[in-house]
Amino acid sequence: MILRDLIRRSGRSIKSAKGRTILTALAIAVGTFALTLTLAASNGATKYVNKIISENFDPAELIVTNDEAIFGQGDNSKPREYDSSITTITQAGANRQIKRISDDDIKQIKSVTNVERVRENITIALRYITRPDQKRFLGNVQAISPSLKMDVIAGSMSRDLASKTILLPEGYVSVLGFKDAEDAVGKTITLAISKPVTAQSIQQSARIVGQTPEELSKLSEDSNALEDFTVAAVLKKPESSQPGTELYMFVSQDDARRLNDITTEGTTNFRKYNFVYARINDGENAKTLATAQEDIKKLGYTSQSVKETQQFLTSIIGVLQGIVAGFGAIAIIASVFGIVNTMYISVLQRTREIGLMKALGMRKRDIGRLFRFEAAWIGFLGGVLGSLLAVGLGTVLNPWITTKLDLGAGTNLLIFKPTEIVILVVILMVVSILAGWLPSRKAAKLDPIEALRTE
């Protein structure tokens, strides 16, 4: 028999036992459903992570630290010696002491071949922002990152922000009393930066012991440095930002350094940074990047590339997906026994038909194939049914998930790839064929004389 006839005949016998076929296929469909959704979630999550990373980070940039503890590595079980450059950070709820990077370190890092630029990670101690006759608001000022993707709704923006200009998020426009975004551009806002308790200020306050509360509060006011900035542009609320960064304001790297210096001058924190970003010339090239990382390591610093961060995140996703996929696979393995059972029944029911086909000269091999195709049909139906249900449910749920998780419009957590589904269905058909192997062998080996005995 030629292939097409075999496939058609096997399909016909599937049709003639609808109930049995559907029940067996349903068992496979359950597993397929879980696997399809898992694959889709994995695609979506990976794409989301990649999107966030590619829109917020430069792949040619390395995060360089003086202390591997910042990456959660290193031995925390032994006490470490005091060093004035050590500070405490909170990571996953635990306090960690880390050694910071100084200007000298930066000089060293800059000396590494292919390091094109080093920018410090600066945390500006902003008290509030305001403008005349307006309330004071909390805020977060960042140094502009060359790789961050930003949409401007008013004004114009360049990566090289001029000194004393600021990029203002949309959210501040109305609260600061601007009519609209256009109105804000070119206007001045004031940033209050906290000043440190330095030896000088202690001296000062020592001289003014015995002041009234009013005078003391005036003093506290004085410990803020007020800096005026011109709004260069208003930023649109980003669609795929890191959560919590929606209201970031941006100033140039130089301004950021200056503002930070105001806060830290005279303290042990002066010009000390948790980490710096080192941009590597041609760092998109994995080999160049690795060489630079190696050179940085030789100097005693630890570095991490965006790719490593990405891999870390996707590997977490991978583990979670693996667990769900495992359950799906177990469901499919369980359904294999269903197929074996169904196929044995089918062979028994069609003993006479098999006998007749053999008497008419059908080859053993073709009889075996006929039943294996029948098993493949069951796998195909189960696979298609399960994946269609998954795609259907996913399509319905996607908008809801996007809103619930606030992923930003246009981002879907469940991404179905047709090729993946096709491959999955093909794998299921192969698994079904394997499950149908023993029953099909039984059919092929059937003695036609026995099968055709009427009594």
Binding site: D5, S16, M357, A359, L360, G361
Partner: protein, 238 residues
């Protein structure tokens, strides 16, 4: 011509050995209608199975034309059976949940007949058994006589040289049976194929040109065309 030469068929070994056929030698000329007659247990069905290659004899050989049936490899035997032989059974063995067309198509599919000529052949076969109007009906909607006619259409569709009919009227009332027999003989003459009918019905056998009487695994008597064939003397059976 189909020649059965000295065929013996035994089952089991030693004490429990049973001889189903004992030194059978028969020649059936091409185009003849021959009946193998005997009571149940006489070995008539076993003889048919051996002649069609479904069963292997313990010794002896079957020659069809000049070809030795058991000299063929399994693959060649299958191909031979698909193109030159056909069967009609007492219980019809038509697939009830398939249409007449699909039932008759089976031998064509097995013989790998090209798809484009199949429909014509099926129609011709159904026409010769007067079932053309039922071509797309399910076999389950047919009466017993119609089902056997369908089985006959299936048997003749690929123009075999040899048709085996095992009690073809056994499940039918006598009037329907007579019609089936008439149809079989008409086709035998029209198509020129050899027809071998296995039956215990003397009435049916009497219509055949050649009658092979069997008893206890041996040929008792051959009447008709080939009565020159020496009748095997009853040997010493274990």
């Amino acid at each position: 011509m189909i020649q059965v030469k000295d065929v013996t068929k035994t089952y089991g070994k030693g004490e429990s050995m049973f001889t189903a056929l004992y030194k059978i030698s028969v020649e059936i000329p091409t185009g003849a209608a021959a009946a193998i007659i005997g009571k149940s247990g006489s070995g008539k069905s076993t003889l048919m199975h051996v002649m069609s290659g479904l069963d292997h004899p313990s010794s002896g050989e079957i020659l069809i034309g000049s070809k030795s049936l058991f000299g063929l490899k399994q693959r060649q035997m299958d191909a031979f059976r698909a193109t030159e032989m056909s069967f009609i059974f007492q219980a019809f063995f038509v697939e009830a949940n398939q249409t007449c067309f699909q039932n008759v198509m089976l031998p064509l599919e097995i013989a790998k007949v090209p798809a484009r000529v199949r429909r014509k052949k099926v129609e011709a076969a159904l026409k010769s058994v007067d079932l053309l109007d039922k071509i797309d009906s399910l076999a389950s909607n047919l009466s017993g006589g119609q089902r056997q006619r369908l089985a006959i259409a299936r048997a003749i569709v690929n123009k075999p040289k040899l048709i085996f009919a095992d009690e073809p009227t056994g499940n039918l009332d006598s009037a329907t049976g007579d019609l089936i027999i008439k149809l079989l003989f008409d086709l035998n003459k029209k198509l020129g194929c050899t027809l071998i009918i296995v039956t215990h019905d003397e009435d049916l056998a009497s219509k055949c040109e050649m009658k092979i009487y069997m008893k206890d695994g041996e040929v008792k008597e051959i009447v008709g065309l080939n009565n020159k064939q020496p009748i095997v003397k009853k040997g010493s059976k274990k």
